[in-house]
Amino acid sequence: MKVAKLITINSNEAPEVLAVPEFPEHSILIYPNLSALRKVYSQYAKKRLEEGNEILLIIPYYETTDSVRAVLRNVGVNVSKYEKENVLVIMDSEKAYQKSEGVYNFNLLLNLLTKRADALGKRGVSIFADGGLFFLYGREEELVADEMDLPTEFDTKCRCFCTYHSEDFKNFSKQQEEQLLKHHYRCFYVRE
C-alpha cells in the first residue's frame, strides 16, 4: 500500500504511539491478523485503564465480546471491575452498528460515554471500532460515507481508532482507500 500518510508500527509499541497526541482524533488502524489487533487493544487498555484517565470502548468484529474480555484478563486487566465502573465498554459490532431512528447505537453510546468522561473529570473516551461488519453485508459505500461524515478531529474528547483487517481494507476501491487515508488524522499499519 503506497500511501505517504500510512505509518507502520510494531504491535508492541502501538499503545505508546497511539496515546500521543492527546485527544481528540479520528484515526485508522489496519492490522494483519487478530493476534496483532489483540496485542494493540489489550496493551492499550491495560495502560490507560490502570492510569484511570480514560474510558475505553471496544467494538470487535472478528471475536466475541467474551473473547475480548478473556484477552484483556490475560494481560492482567480487571475486566469486571472496569465494566462495573462503566469505564470499559465492550459491544459487538452487530449491536453497535444497528440504527435506532437513523442513529447508530455506537453514536448514542459514544455520546453517553463522552458525557460520563467529562463528569468524571477524565481525559476522554478511546475507541477501537472494527469495520468488518460493513463488508459482510456489502455496505462498504455506507461505511465510507459514515467515515467521511465523522470529523478528522472530534469536537469532543474522543480518540477513535477505526480498525480494519488488512484483507477487508483491500476490498475498498483505490479511490475509497485514498479518501479514507486522507480523511483520518493518523493512519497506522500494525506489524506483529
Partner: protein, 116 residues
Amino acid sequence: MAIVLKEMLENSGFDVDAFTNSEEALQHFKFREKKYSLVISDIRMPGVSGIQLAKRIKSIDPSIKIILLTAFEINKSEFDKVMDSKNVDGFIQKPVSMERLNREVSRCLGGSIESG
C-alpha cells in the same frame, strides 16, 4: 477452529480439507469442485466473508451443500439482503459440539452417510 472441525469430522469418517483463508479455499475449490459435497464456513472472515464464499461456491456448483457457522447473532434482515437463505443448507451456532456437527452434516448430505 478449522483444524479442530477437520479432526472432529475425520473422526466421524469424513474426508476433509481445511483452510484458514477463504480466498485460498475458494481457489482450491475452483479447481477441484467435483471432489466436494459440502462446504462448512465461518461467516465472519476477512477478505472474502463466509456469505461471499458461499455465494461464489454455489455459483460454481449449485449442488454443493453449505453450512455456515457463527458465534454471533445474525441480523436476519441484513442477512436476507445479501444472501438467499435457499443457498444455505444449515447454520450452526458456536461453540460446536461433535454431535451437532455430525447431525447437521448428515442431514445436509441427505442422511445417507452414517457418522462414526
